[in-house]
Each structure stands twice: as C-alpha cells, then as structure tokens.
Point group: C2
Chain length 338, copies 2
C-alpha cells in the first residue's frame, strides 16, 4: 500500500488530515504550521509589544499549557518583541473539580517555569474573595437560585484575573482560548441574543477599557484537535479527568453540533470567528458599547449599576463577608482613585 | 384520568402544549392566539397601511396558503386598514418539483380567491426570464459549476417577485415566512459569515430601497408547527409531496438542530429572530449598508456591479437569450428612468 506523502514537504509520510484545507501533513509540517499560525496571530493583531508584562492564565488544560510552552519557546527563539516579561498564574476556584485540581501534573508547569524562566504562582478564590466557589454555590442553591457552577466559576475567574493583573502590574493577560472555544462563544452569544457581548469579542478585546487588563488569545486560530496533537507530541500533559459539570454546560452540546456541521463545511469554525470579529469591530467602531461605570458596591468596572460578582455575592448572602475581605486587598482605593 | 384544561380559558380540554410558554391550550384559544399574533405583528411594525396594494406570494405550501386565508379573513373582518387591495400570485419555476407543482390542490387557492375577493395569477420563469430554472441548472452543471437548485430558484424567484410587483403596481409583497424560517435564516447568515445580509432581515426589510418592492412577513412570529395545526383544522391543504432537493439544502439540517436545541431552550427561535432584528437595525441605523447600484447588464438594483441573476445567466451561457427576453418586458426602461 502506498503511504500518502505530506502535501507541504512531499518528503515525509503524512500523519494528519487537515479538514479545513484538505492538506495531508506530516507531524513536522503540522507543528510548524501551528507555530506559524500563533506567531502570525501575535504579529498581525499586535498582541504583544516591546516591554509588555504578560500574565499567562493556566487552567491546567492542554490549551493553556501549550500557550505557556509556545510563548516561552518563542521568547527564547527571539521571535517575540524585546523585553517581554512572562509570568504565569493559576486560579484555584475551591471546589473538588477546580480546573487547578484537574491538572494532574502541576510538576509540568514547574518544569516549564524553570526551563523558560516564567515565574508561576497559584491564587485561590478564598484569598481573593474571602469565599470559595462552593460557598457561593451553596449560598445561591440554598435560596433556590439555580446558577450553573461554570457560571459562578466564570464570573469570579474573570474578576480574579483582573485583580491578579493589578497585583502583578501586568499589561496583558494571555489565555489559551482556541478556535473551537471562540466559535462556540460566537454561537452562544448569537443563540442567547447577546449583541452587546460582541463588543468584548475580537482578537484583542477589552483594550482601552479603563480598569480592565486587556486579554489576548494567541491560539484563537488553531483548532482544538491540532492543539491536542501538538501537546501530545511535545510532552504536554493532556487532562486526565473531565470536569463533571461540563455535561450540563451549553458549550458541551455545541461542541458536537459544530463537529457535525464541520463535516459539510470544513471552514465553519473560522467562518463563525470571522463573523464574531466583524461584529466586534462594528460594535466598537459604532460606539454602541455602553460606557463603563463603577460598581456601587466594590468600585470595579461594570456596564451596569452593580457588577456581576457583587450580584452573585448578594444573592448568595455573602456580600458582607466578601466586601470586608475585598477591602483588605486595597483594590477599591486603587480603582476609585484612577 | 383527569383531562387537563386549557390554561387560557379554563373551560375546554387542552389539545396543544406550547413549549415556548408552557401553556396548554384548547384549539379555540390556540387559533385565537395565532390570529392575534399575526394581527399584532401587522400593527406593531405597520406592515400594512391604508391604500396599500399587497401581493401575496403563494408557493403552494401551508404557510403561504395560511397567509392568504388570514389576510382575506382579516380584511373581511375589518381588521386591516382601509382600502387595502389584496392580490395573490404564484411563480412556476419550470422544473418538475416547482413549488407550484408541489401544490396538489390549486383549486383551494381558487376557492380562497373567490371567497375573499383576492385576484390570483400564475407567472412562469419562462415568461419572466425567457428560460426555466432547469435551463439555468443545465447550463451551469454542463460547465461543471455546482449551484444548488434551491439557490437558482431563490435568486430568480426574488427577482421575479420584483418584476411581478412592478407589473401589478404593488406597494408591498407579503410572504409566508414563519418563525422557523426566520430563525434558520439568522443562523445561516451567521454560519456563512454574512453580516451584510442582515441589512435585509428585520420585520420590514427592503423598505425605502429604490427599485425594490418592500417585503412583509406577517407570520414571522408564529412557529411552523402552529401554522401546520392551524392549517389542518381550517381546511388548508398541507403539502403532500416533499421537494427532493430539500435534503441537500443547508436549511434542512438546521431544522433538526433547532428542534433539538429547542428542548433545552424553548425560546431559542424567538431569541435568534430577536438577534437578527437587532443586527438588522444596527446595520441600517449605522448606514453600513452598501448603497444600491444598477446592474450593468439589466439595470436592476444590486449591491455590486452585476446582479445575481445576470451572474447566474452569464455563467449558464444564457445571457443573450435572457437579455433579449428581458427587454421585451420593458422593465429596463422603467428602472432606468426612475
């Protein structure tokens, strides 16, 4: 039987069929193509500039670990702008399935940290908010308020990243969102009729919004499948334990829908992200974005009267405990005086 | 066993469970609710004004027949503005599965036409374009150009409606699009990254665009399922023969995806249409719409250099035949002098 050769180099046997382009690639060309895509994304959208102090958010999943690996490698190879400081951090949400705990091999992060000189630190919800995600969930559920654990985690984690960013003096926070995550986000925003949320989408969102540390997503044009293969062959540990909360998360269903659609339309994920980006541009170009205000409880930036964190804490009956703790972080003053 | 009673009237046994609201309805209350929704849609968006001359596009399916029935009934009941002229027309695409031919009982349209005083006429692609949809398809396919029959039908039918509108002096054309159609359209435009096309969406699209007869969709807030039940119990014939082209039409797959999503989120179709409407408003408010131009071949309004009809005809090698015929319609002069 003839082994098909790599469409790119023509020299090595093909190991991977890339549906979106129809190419058959050897691992060598596949890995180079993935790295090229990430570097091009960083350059084209100017995600990283000279002197940036970038925090890499490590969930423990393959995507954030691959991101840490790639940024470390790129800096070592001189492919990033000059004087870029890289740091990494994890957030321990404080429930048995916290992303942090899912990460079976935190020793790998330590190894990357040393190899690429990227200081790494773990923060807990407990130290940032005075309460854990489980406390919030129990508070809400005991009052008959049904909020998905992933929503609680998400709201608190976004705020946590901002607090950590201010503590560390970060200029940007890099997250491991891949093409599949981004395509799902577009579809979710559409299905929940959330036009406003697109102002936060796009390759370089939240930039120039007072009080928010800009987020960058260097992996957003790489398919999840390709990151998994890249990770596997580069010794990056793949998650061993799936979070049980995932099954009732709306993204879970969309993952399979997108996989099915992809069979007929191999570019559908790129197409969705392109749609989201056009809409993001439109929403900010046209200044339809609601100007940011300060939360009347904690002073953190928000689009309404009360930020989502305070809304959750209030509903969970944890407001006093949270605010008392929050004051000790001395972030309220920082925010109010800015 | 206790028979559940209608949630609305409490007097009659329930026959229908409305997933979007959780109501159990008797047929009486269901039918009244459907009629109320259509009348409210007409009034809220001012779809019909005094003196309007409205052409009802009859495909032969349940939706357009229900639309003709309802508009006739509403006018008879004095629920429409004064002096509204209603006409109905069908378009025979000229292939064995033309919507017109699928309609097993054209005698029903004749009956409605007489009962509600709505003149009815059939036009063929052959008389409007000088060629049939089959001619175009054969022309394209023989050159190895794969265009779906539904696309050919759609492009020519939209133009046909405009030509018929000008011939009959219509002020508006009413189509039978229901909530499911509209939700699918939003999803399709998103998935094909077609932001511009949203300028054409919305409750009352194409109004104030020179050369285009405005389209109105009075059934766009009624779920397809409810129209089918309404039709069945009002003696409106349901289509007996499914068009074989439907299986490879992208809408067909979306129909099932939406049905599955609806189980978890009963309002998902309304939500999608609301998203489409917000985007439609944004696209026209912000004047992102490309100003209309005239096709360099036929003079009909288009957003580019060449309209989609001429593009198809040219590719199919039918341009000369088509243009020669088109001149005899004397529409080019009408358009150019306007």
């Amino acid at each position: 039987m003839d082994v098909p050769m790599c469409t790119r180099c023509g020299r090595r046997p093909a190991n991977y069929y890339r549906v979106s382009s129809g190419e058959k690639l050897c691992f060598n060309c596949l890995f180079r193509s993935i790295e090229d895509t990430v570097i091009k994304t960083i350059r084209r959208y100017r995600l990283i500039n000279e002197g940036d102090k970038i925090g890499i958010a490590i969930s423990g999943g393959k995507d954030s670990l691959t991101l840490m690996y790639l940024l470390g490698k790129f800096r070592k190879q001189g492919k990033l702008p000059k004087n870029v400081e890289l740091m990494a951090f994890s957030i321990n949400e404080g429930h048995p399935y916290s992303c942090f705990y899912r990460m079976a091999r935190s020793d790998y992060v330590q190894k990357l940290s040393e190899e690429y000189d990227i200081p790494y630190k773990v923060y807990t919800f407990k130290e940032l908010f005075g309460v854990t995600a489980t406390d919030v969930a129990h508070g809400l559920w005991s009052k008959g308020i049904n909020v998905h654990m992933c929503t609680i985690d998400g709201v608190l984690r976004r705020r946590a990243m901002n607090i950590i960013g201010h503590k560390l003096g970060l200029t940007k926070i890099a997250t491991g969102h891949n093409l599949d995550d981004e395509a799902q986000t577009v579809l979710l925003n559409v299905l929940s009729n959330d036009l406003d949320r697109f102002a936060w989408f796009g390759p370089k969102p939240e930039i120039d919004r007072e009080g928010f540390i800009p987020r960058i997503k260097p992996l957003r044009f790489v398919r999840e499948e390709e990151i998994a293969i890249y990770a596997h062959y580069h010794g990056i540990p793949l998650m061993e334990l799936e979070c049980p909360f995932v099954y009732s998360n709306p993204r879970y269903e969309l993952k399979f829908t997108l996989a099915r659609w992809e069979r007929d339309n191999p570019n559908i994920k790129y197409s969705l992200v392109a749609f989201g980006d056009s809409l993001a541009k439109l929403m900010s170009d046209k200044a339809v974005r609601t100007p940011l205000r300060k939360c009347k409880y904690c002073g953190q930036p928000t689009s309404g009267d009360v930020c989502r964190v305070c809304e959750l804490m209030r509903k969970a009956g944890l407001m006093e405990k949270y605010l008392a703790h929050f004051k000790t972080l001395k972030l309220m003053d920082t925010q109010s005086s800015s």
